[in-house]
Symmetry: C5
Subunit: 335 residues, 5 copies
Amino acid sequence: MIRSLAFTTQGRLHSKDIEMFLMPTLLTDTNLFLWIDLEKPTPEEAKFVLEELLHFHPLSIKDCVEESPAPKVEEFSPKEEDKFQPYLFMVIHAVDYSRKDGVFATSELNFFLGKNFLVTYHDKPMRSVAQVEERSVKGTTHIARAPDRVAYNLLDGIVDNYKPALEELSLEISELEQMALAHPTKETLNKLLQIKKEVLHLRRIIGPQREVLGRFARGEFKLIRPHLVPYYRNVYDGLFQIYELAQGYTDSLTGILQVYLNMSSNQTGEVVKLLTLITVITTPVVIIGTWYGMNFAHMPETSEAAPQWTYPLVIIVTVLSTAATYLYFKKRKWF
Amino acid sequence: MIRSLAFTTQGRLHSKDIEMFLMPTLLTDTNLFLWIDLEKPTPEEAKFVLEELLHFHPLSIKDCVEESPAPKVEEFSPKEEDKFQPYLFMVIHAVDYSRKDGVFATSELNFFLGKNFLVTYHDKPMRSVAQVEERSVKGTTHIARAPDRVAYNLLDGIVDNYKPALEELSLEISELEQMALAHPTKETLNKLLQIKKEVLHLRRIIGPQREVLGRFARGEFKLIRPHLVPYYRNVYDGLFQIYELAQGYTDSLTGILQVYLNMSSNQTGEVVKLLTLITVITTPVVIIGTWYGMNFAHMPETSEAAPQWTYPLVIIVTVLSTAATYLYFKKRKWF
Amino acid sequence: MIRSLAFTTQGRLHSKDIEMFLMPTLLTDTNLFLWIDLEKPTPEEAKFVLEELLHFHPLSIKDCVEESPAPKVEEFSPKEEDKFQPYLFMVIHAVDYSRKDGVFATSELNFFLGKNFLVTYHDKPMRSVAQVEERSVKGTTHIARAPDRVAYNLLDGIVDNYKPALEELSLEISELEQMALAHPTKETLNKLLQIKKEVLHLRRIIGPQREVLGRFARGEFKLIRPHLVPYYRNVYDGLFQIYELAQGYTDSLTGILQVYLNMSSNQTGEVVKLLTLITVITTPVVIIGTWYGMNFAHMPETSEAAPQWTYPLVIIVTVLSTAATYLYFKKRKWF
Amino acid sequence: MIRSLAFTTQGRLHSKDIEMFLMPTLLTDTNLFLWIDLEKPTPEEAKFVLEELLHFHPLSIKDCVEESPAPKVEEFSPKEEDKFQPYLFMVIHAVDYSRKDGVFATSELNFFLGKNFLVTYHDKPMRSVAQVEERSVKGTTHIARAPDRVAYNLLDGIVDNYKPALEELSLEISELEQMALAHPTKETLNKLLQIKKEVLHLRRIIGPQREVLGRFARGEFKLIRPHLVPYYRNVYDGLFQIYELAQGYTDSLTGILQVYLNMSSNQTGEVVKLLTLITVITTPVVIIGTWYGMNFAHMPETSEAAPQWTYPLVIIVTVLSTAATYLYFKKRKWF
Amino acid sequence: MIRSLAFTTQGRLHSKDIEMFLMPTLLTDTNLFLWIDLEKPTPEEAKFVLEELLHFHPLSIKDCVEESPAPKVEEFSPKEEDKFQPYLFMVIHAVDYSRKDGVFATSELNFFLGKNFLVTYHDKPMRSVAQVEERSVKGTTHIARAPDRVAYNLLDGIVDNYKPALEELSLEISELEQMALAHPTKETLNKLLQIKKEVLHLRRIIGPQREVLGRFARGEFKLIRPHLVPYYRNVYDGLFQIYELAQGYTDSLTGILQVYLNMSSNQTGEVVKLLTLITVITTPVVIIGTWYGMNFAHMPETSEAAPQWTYPLVIIVTVLSTAATYLYFKKRKWF
């Protein structure tokens, strides 16, 4: 699907859903700039915009159409034989609306940013694109004065959209902490390692993104006007904070893992304690019972000739020694 | 709340709690400089000072008003269309008076530092701001000769205020060490991991702060006069020492964790030892008792025809073998 | 075996399997360039091409012929006494078709890249060399216009060929995860550590490769024409992604190891639980049985004079206390 | 206490214990240089030397008088209004003579190094200061030709004095290794973790020291004459070696910890083995004894009517089955 | 012992074992260069060569004569008052012929490399020195054309001599892996940790060596002629590979440690399993035996009045329940 918007350099909407054959003309008008949004375009649409209309370098077209895991930014300046205008090609990853099945889904947004055009290319509908489009059509002049400003707004939206996913993560981590302390089960460990993988994944997504935006923040590109650089630096700072958060999550998870492992080994320790306790407390009964189960004919305590009080005495001795054992362990706080 | 102070460049107090409409006039007087402290200002107050009076860049106003986790410093130089004077915008985190509930609370202090003004913005009352204000009103000339000197005093105060919190942490770590060695319980582990998280948090707070102050210490900013750079370097050194302390705490905590885990697994080991000891020591009695509990009619030791001394002999054998077992384990230092 | 191809600078095939004595002549023709592929050449062949025909520096010949574990690139510019043309010498490692016996086999590809020649040297047949050769003979003009373009195609093929091996690894890691959760055995640990070693090995192979290609991507070499630099950057990005994947594998494997170790210590914990359970549940029977096995003559419960219901009562007490113990542990979810 | 020495630029002692009022005169004599050693000076002495005599920058005086954990070096060049000569201010930590109570005690040495003066400031008597003073008074001309040479000798002495403490550490680590292998007790772990903390402490002391001396070794300071730079590099190399040693100690300690933990878990394993062994070996006796303890009236083996050899047969069966069990475990090397 | 060789700049041997008094003359001959090898020289020999003949800087003489753990290279250029020629001083560590007692022994080789001299100084006989000497006397012209070429050959030899020691290590690591899987004992752990220490030691030896040779490889020194730089880069690459190998060993050892620890904890798990198995399987016999050992007069099953088949029935019940338990655990694959 192609959506196209033409804005005047004062930020007002000039036209919308422009016919393809009009685009070349609009591109030559220095008072206008064009934003073409390709959402899951047909190969013909992609070919028309990227190759025939704007003549982008074949490598950046390839990178745009294929799915590429690493964010990047590249500056293309035309050589003699090239027909394209100087442009920036950027790949950025956005986080999807929700984390289904506990997995971070990212989608790729490709930018081609020129002096008077911005082409965005993505395979799935993206919230930040929709938001910026809506706001710029409504005519808030700050948003759509130039392609680099639109690009800033898109990037700002993408970074903002990371936040709900992060809060969800943070919540899950708190729950995990409770679980590890209360009822550590095999499930807890699985959950923990799965979230850890997620957080590491998040850091690996954001790491190169930071590098890409760092180059904008340092004002490396001529196509970004100097007075917009602080805005890009702001986006960079936002990413930096997400990265720091992720680092904090990693620390928390490492701590929870240690709690879990300790709780789990404590459980075995408690079981062994119980076993020992039972064994020790029943020892007096067992010994005495076994002993007087012997069948010696000449056993003075049990024989017919023995006084009547031997059995009651044995009962008393047994009860007392069991009680002593019980109290000893009670005192040493075994239970 | 707005507090405002005007000082002469000789460091004497010119006026206090200046009416808002006078501020623009005072700002044009080259013999004066203005310190405006915004403590939880109303939106109107903030708007008046930051936008109408000093025309700061919208991005730094946004960063100032919003809570931002990462410390930073940015230099803003006016472009043609901008109405503001060149200024430095800085965000720094201070540690609160006390660590309630064992958690480090930080509060944010925003600075706008210009040639003849200093604006500080914070949401909570801050000790270092109060101290510097008091001292500069009392007229110690060193403190309030220029905005960069006031800023130095504020930063110095912030770094100093970290120290009580650090000493508290250090105390808690010593206590933990004692606990881990004496009575390691689940509580010890929780406490340990919680303090570890705190220390890591502290390092994450201080890390970027160091970078910010490092730029001052290297004299990167023209608004800081060269002969003040060593003072800023001093503040930087202070932060560096805190960072090193935090690193030392981390090492201690890792050691305590190892002690804890070892103590906890030793406890299980001790329990198993006891179980084994009881089992082994009762083995002779149990075997002999069980054996002579057999009912064979033709069992020479127990039959009526057996000599009288068989039972006493069995008693002696049982006592001796139990004693031998006891002494054997005594010698191997099992108890 | 020597394979040689001469191309015109328009990318068309000029001749194939050129006689050795013709090579010097072809090398002087500025409209042609020569690609000589040495696959497990005889020493004479190697000597002819590397020494007599192109007079390469003895050190690069040594590095080419010997097996060298580290990828590298070196630029050789002739000194007065040297007879060779300026050239780049590069060593790159490719991954073989399949991972036999679960071990990554890499093979070395040596490049000598000059203005009008490309010499490739390898000991085993290589897929990417065969592919590029086939495609360039078939005359797709983009592929064989200049030696640096052919070299790019070879490198691109090598990086692409890493992918099947990586997918295989990824599959094995998923299987391992299942195994560690379901039936952790000694085999699982062995497999895990072996795959971990592989992944670390892969990272050690790719690390220096990235550095080598990074130098191409930054356009450090004059022999690579500037408009080809983006292509090399593309290859670099591909390698970077593989490196990131390997990093992700390492994280997964660390997680699986933790699952494994925990499952394995849980198993022992379960066994101890069973032991304790059996001991505890049989305790009432054993105690009662042992007690009434005593032979006291004056034991009111068992004597002839005792009422008939003592034995049934003991049965009931035994059953009830055993059931109570059973239910107690059932309630605490021991089984 | 103030000690002062004046040397001629030929390295001969000019005068000693100079009266305070003479110092300003001597400082103006270009053929002399002055070494003032302040050992735990009274505030008046410190004030006279640091402020009145040499007019040092207030910040470096503050750093000198206060205890500061981080080593550093700063170059002070006078501004118009400043009265001091250009000088280097350096803080270095020396290790005390002996490690009392197993703890590394460090003491701080502050240097002020100018063209014709050296001021050293320390709170405790220091061995290296005493040594250098003695040697320079005795007139070995190499030692006291210029302030930078005296400073080198002091630094060299400080680094040399680290060595005995390191050897002591190395010895303690070897002892620990023996202990961990022979009789791992709770004490061993405590000792181990305490020494580990020490080594980490040592590395944290030396790390910044290296950076400070690295700046001398690179010849960054004009006050150090170029031909003395190799000497400072030598001191730097000495520190580097200590750092490497400390790294090696850390590795050893990590290894010892692993031995300890393994030994300690092995002990529990051995105890469990013993428990199992006893249980298994006594099983035949216990089963047979219990079985024939049953009171069935019609039990052919035990009844009066049974042949005489049933009891001896049971004895033989018991002995044989116990022996078989014993031999089985003997063969599997359980004891 | 002093060995000395003079070569013409064509690489031919001019003279051998030169008298000391002739050396100064030979040093002035620009067509010759001198290689003096000091192997455990007497102090007089060392003094003559290093001080009187070549007037080296006292610091490099000190570093040469003393044993210094860190490899380094320093360039000495004469100042006005110095009498020496510009020279490079280098300390390198070689690995001894064999690893006696499983410990890497390194020996130090000191180089003084000037325009027309090379002085090597070592305390023990060194294989690479002997080899280069032999080959250069035999007149292979490439080897001994200039001091920097001889130095290259020495360094190349040193790096080559690391290989046998590495192969030995690799073999020992494989053996360890087998041991850890088959019969993990305390010895295995000791061996493992000892080899780990060795490998870490090796990396600490090679790390700084790489830095030293890296400076040669980058062509930092004027005394190394540019066309020899690729040769030094080759030596550097060799060291790099050794470093990588050592890194691989570390990874392997970490894996083996994990196998060991797991095997060792598995052994305890197996023992506990056996204990539980024995306890569980004997439970039916013990309970039944104990139960019918009770002496109740009115016990219908055992009394004289009971039918004859009660005892056989109890036997059958016991056998069946024991068999059921046995089969249950057999099915759950406990043995």
